[in-house]
């Protein structure tokens, strides 16, 4: 008797309904903000912002930060931070360029070497954080200085150039038009298939499902957007390779974070480390792995950047860590850990890149970009905190 009363009282609060609505709202706010920014720049630049050429540029420009944001999302999910990624980008790109320009290594070999070095850097920093208990903020702040120093020492302050064509191609080539469409179509078909299968599963399990209209409608909108983007890119030179790399890595990490026990453990560690440890999760090893993944992604970003610029400079990658963290935070990742989504972080990187790109197209001076990006970051976090407070 007593029990029923209490349960019913609890069910009637309607808390869950409100919350799910709020969650959707947060995702839509991000997309809405993005659309507003695009339209705004589109109008202000007389449509030039939305031209095929500029979209292609925009995607290529965002790819480095997007790669870093993918790894940073995992780092933030386990409630750590990595301030060294900018320096790691510079160092790995610099080493790749040195090995090729000074020592004549092939592109394949230097790419592998750079990625290996990135992984080793991740191992080094992860070990300090996970097994020595030094706060990640300090370890990676030290790393930021150390790796930049090594880079300057190795290059002796020079710019290393030019690279072989095959290296340049990593940052500057495009998919053939047909292949772009084929990949787009395949991903759309798969998307529909998985939506269908997921719905069927959930219905069978008696879980709540959105109406068929809304789930297939959503998929159709995404399909349309994919095709539109590929069409626009194909009107220029095709889908840029850098963005393909971002999509591949983004897809893999998103998959890992949702479908593997490793991913689940990361959310648990960031959400409540003590409960995670008592549940038998190896916090140290998982943390170490996250830093290794970050290192690999930073090295990949370093290769992309060096290839695109056809040179390695001592200042390459400076302050990229801040852009990457900002992209994650705009995408809704919590600095307190336990919350974050790779795809949204990539969207965050796109928003940041759009602001840079749009403002420079408008010939606004560079200082404005800093001011506007800073303000947007502040507002994004405030909206997040405000909405959480209201929910609580």
């Amino acid at each position: 008797m007593n029990l029923n009363m209490q349960e019913r009282h609890w069910l009637n609060t309607g808390k869950s309904a409100k919350l799910s609505f709020k969650f959707d709202l947060q995702a839509y706010v991000l997309i809405l903000a993005f659309l507003v920014i695009i339209l705004l720049f589109g109008v202000l630049t007389n449509g030039e912002f939305l031209s095929s050429r500029n979209i292609s540029n925009l995607f290529t420009q965002m790819s480095v930060i997007a790669l870093l944001a993918i790894g940073m999302t995992l780092i933030l999910i386990v409630a750590h931070i990595d301030l060294s990624v900018g320096s790691v980008v510079g160092l790995t790109g610099g080493i790749a360029a040195i090995l090729q320009v000074w020592y004549g290594w092939s592109t394949w070999a230097v790419v592998l070497a750079a990625i290996l070095i990135g992984a080793l850097i991740g191992l080094w920093q992860g070990w300090w954080v996970a097994y020595r208990g030094v706060p990640a903020f300090i370890v990676t702040l030290a790393g930021m200085l150390i790796f930049r120093g090594i880079l300057i020492g190795l290059t002796r302050g020079q710019t290393i150039a030019p690279l072989e064509n095959s290296f340049k191609a990593i940052g500057n080539s495009y998919l053939p038009y047909a292949l772009g469409y084929i990949l787009g179509l395949v991903s759309i078909v798969l998307w529909f298939f998985f939506t269908y299968r997921n719905r069927k599963k959930r219905i069978k399990l008696g879980l709540m499902v959105p109406s068929a209209w809304s789930s297939y409608g959503k998929t159709a909108v995404y399909a349309f957007l994919i095709l539109l983007i590929i069409y626009m890119l194909n009107r220029y030179f095709g889908v840029p390779i850098p963005i393909l790399i971002v999509v591949v890595f983004g897809g893999i990490i998103a998959f890992v974070s949702h479908k593997t026990s490793f991913g689940r453990h990361l959310y648990a560690i960031g959400g409540n480390a003590e409960a995670a440890a008592l549940s038998g999760i190896n916090i140290r090893r998982n943390t170490l792995f996250v830093f290794i993944i970050m290192g690999v992604l930073a090295a990949t970003a370093g290769i992309l950047l060096t290839g695109r610029l056809n040179a390695a400079t001592t200042s390459a990658g400076t302050s990229f860590e801040m852009d990457a963290i900002a992209a994650c935070v705009i995408g809704g990742t919590s600095l307190m850990g336990g919350k974050g989504n790779v795809i949204r972080s990539i969207l965050g990187a796109l928003i940041m890149a759009s602001i840079d790109n749009g403002m420079s197209m408008m010939n606004m001076e560079a200082f404005w970009q800093y001011i506007v990006k800073g303000t947007i970051l502040l507002l994004a976090v405030w909206i997040d905190i405000y909405s959480q407070k209201r929910a609580a």
Binding site: Q6, W10, K201, L205, L207, S261, A268, A275
Partner: protein, 505 residues
């Protein structure tokens, strides 16, 4: 004799619980007044009302200080009125010097420019008062817990407190330090300071107190001068209630020994103190073993160290099913078949940002994987089945656990551990903060599991719960097992005698 403090008709309600019911508490000027009661009897709540932690308006009743009514809206206001409290957990800033801590809320520290020499001179004066001979520039963290306690008292004295409340001041002290403290209290009494002394250790109460008030279940049972009391009469007053039959105990078949712990000793890393002192016990298949003891007796430390989650130097052996196991971390414990449901479910049990399914499968993800990947179908079915078993009530399993009531949250934690098919299930205060209806359901689950052959260790501060559920009771005090009682010979009085008896048998 005049009363310095009169608390009349104090009633305090928390959502779902009446913590204090029409409590009367009169304290005479200049006496040492002991406040006794079991865990949860309402002592701390009463003191929190007195010191303004629960501000005026959140409770019913009236407080008179020196005959004048007072309405404290904050701790600051009660301090200004001359009431100081020394909490069980010390409230000192460890990185600061002794002098800074003593005078932290003093005007000397609030001047625009701080005169450090003056501060040190002033603090020396107060240190003398409590008989501490240390350099006031020493950092607090370098002092032993006992000395920290004395610093805390010195700090209270600077407030010119008329009433000092000491909440379990001796819990962390050595015997010598207790003697020093007793001396200081007698000194304070000579100076006309009134002390309210909260302690589980009845021997201390009998030694120092002038008057004893006993609280039980949020009500005042009695206030008597010490001459009229003995240890036995105090205990009877503390526990004297009937066990209601909300405990669904069933006679069960008890099997062979499943868990054997031998010579278990835990040394705290920071202090080198033996938290657990050569403890040995065993648990049988299908048995419910109750663990009783007062706060600080070492119950949580013993069992969290058994599952490899206590930061200390641990020695001793564990045998599960006759095989010796080495348990270095919670994973080893899970693999050995030992599950530990901790006392603070929000801190140690749940990831509040995750949903019910994810929390349920957290420690046994391997079970819901196919081809190395989490299979949504299997995961959901597994979570559904186990949560049906514990009769979890939730609109659906995809809501976050933070939205569940305390009882249902506890069920999710229990589900999580049941998924590991434990041989031994340790439940640390499993019904704390849970209402009666949900408590009953948890008792039923415990019984059901025991019937299925799981060995259950039930740690609880609620004696009726221990007596109602257990086949056998171990009583702990001072890091040791001080008593063992079979179901038919266990009583609240016997348990309390063992629990308050210190380390002597």
């Amino acid at each position: 004799m005049e009363y310095i403090l009169q608390m009349k008709g104090i009633t305090k309600e928390f959502p779902g619980v009446r913590a204090l019911n029409n409590v009367t508490f009169f304290v005479k000027k200049g006496e040492i007044h002991a406040l006794c009661g079991e865990n949860g009897a309402g002592k701390s709540t009463l003191m929190k009302i007195l010191t303004g932690v629960y501000p005026y308006g959140t409770y019913k009743g009236k407080i008179y200080l020196d005959g004048k009514e007072v309405k404290f809206k904050s701790i600051k206001e009660s301090q200004d009125a001359g009431i100081a409290i020394i909490h069980q957990e010390l409230a000192l800033v460890e990185e600061m010097s002794v002098a800074e801590n003593i005078l932290l809320s003093n005007d000397l520290m609030r001047r625009k420019y701080i005169d450090w020499n003056l501060i040190f001179a002033e603090s020396l004066k107060w240190l003398k008062e409590v008989g501490l001979d240390i350099d006031p520039q020493t950092k607090v963290k370098q002092l032993s817990v006992g000395k920290q306690q004395l610093v805390e008292i010195a700090k209270a004295l600077t407030l010119n407190a008329k009433i000092i409340v000491l909440d379990e001041p001796t819990a962390a002290l050595t015997k010598n330090e207790v003697e020093v403290l007793m001396g200081i209290l007698r000194n304070l009494k000579k100076k006309g300071v009134t002390c309210i002394y909260i302690s589980h250790k009845l021997s201390e109460v009998l030694e120092i107190a002038d008057t004893v008030t006993v609280l039980r279940d949020g009500e005042t049972i009695s206030t008597d001068p010490i001459e009229k009391l003995t240890e036995e009469t105090i205990i009877t007053k503390m526990v004297g209630r009937k066990i209601t039959d909300i405990y669904p105990y069933k006679k069960r078949e008890i099997g062979p020994i499943i868990l054997e712990v031998n010579d278990w000793t835990v040394v705290q890393k920071s202090t080198g103190k033996k938290i657990i002192n050569h403890v040995s016990f065993s648990l049988k298949k299908g048995e419910i073993l109750g663990i009783a003891g007062l706060m600080g007796a070492g119950r949580t430390e013993l069992f969290s160290s058994l599952v490899g989650y206590y930061p200390g130097h641990v020695t001793g052996t564990i045998k599960v099913d006759g095989k010796e196991k080495r348990i270095r971390n919670p994973r080893d414990a899970i693999e050995a078949g030992i599950a530990y449901v901790s006392e603070d479910r929000k801190r140690y049990g749940l990831v509040l940002g995750m949903n019910i399914i994810q929390n349920t499968t957290l420690s046994s993800l391997k079970k819901v994987m196919r081809y190395q990947l989490i299979d949504q179908t299997i995961e959901l079915k597994t979570a559904q089945e186990i949560n049906d078993k514990v009769k979890l009530k939730a609109p659906n399993l995809e809501i976050k656990v933070s939205q569940l009531s305390g009882g249902n949250q506890q069920k999710v934690v229990i589900s999580k551990w049941l998924l590991n098919d434990p041989k031994v299930l340790i439940l640390d205060e499993p019904t704390r903060g849970i209402d009666v209806g949900a408590k009953y359901e948890i008792y039923k689950i415990i019984n059901e599991l025991a019937t299925q052959g799981v060995g259950i260790i039930l740690i609880s501060s609620e004696l009726p719960e221990i007596l109602g559920m257990s086949d056998r009771v171990l009583v702990m005090a001072g890091g040791q097992i001080t008593g063992e009682l079979k179901r038919d010979e266990a009583s609240q009085e016997k348990i309390m005698t063992y629990a308050t008896g210190g380390t002597k048998r």
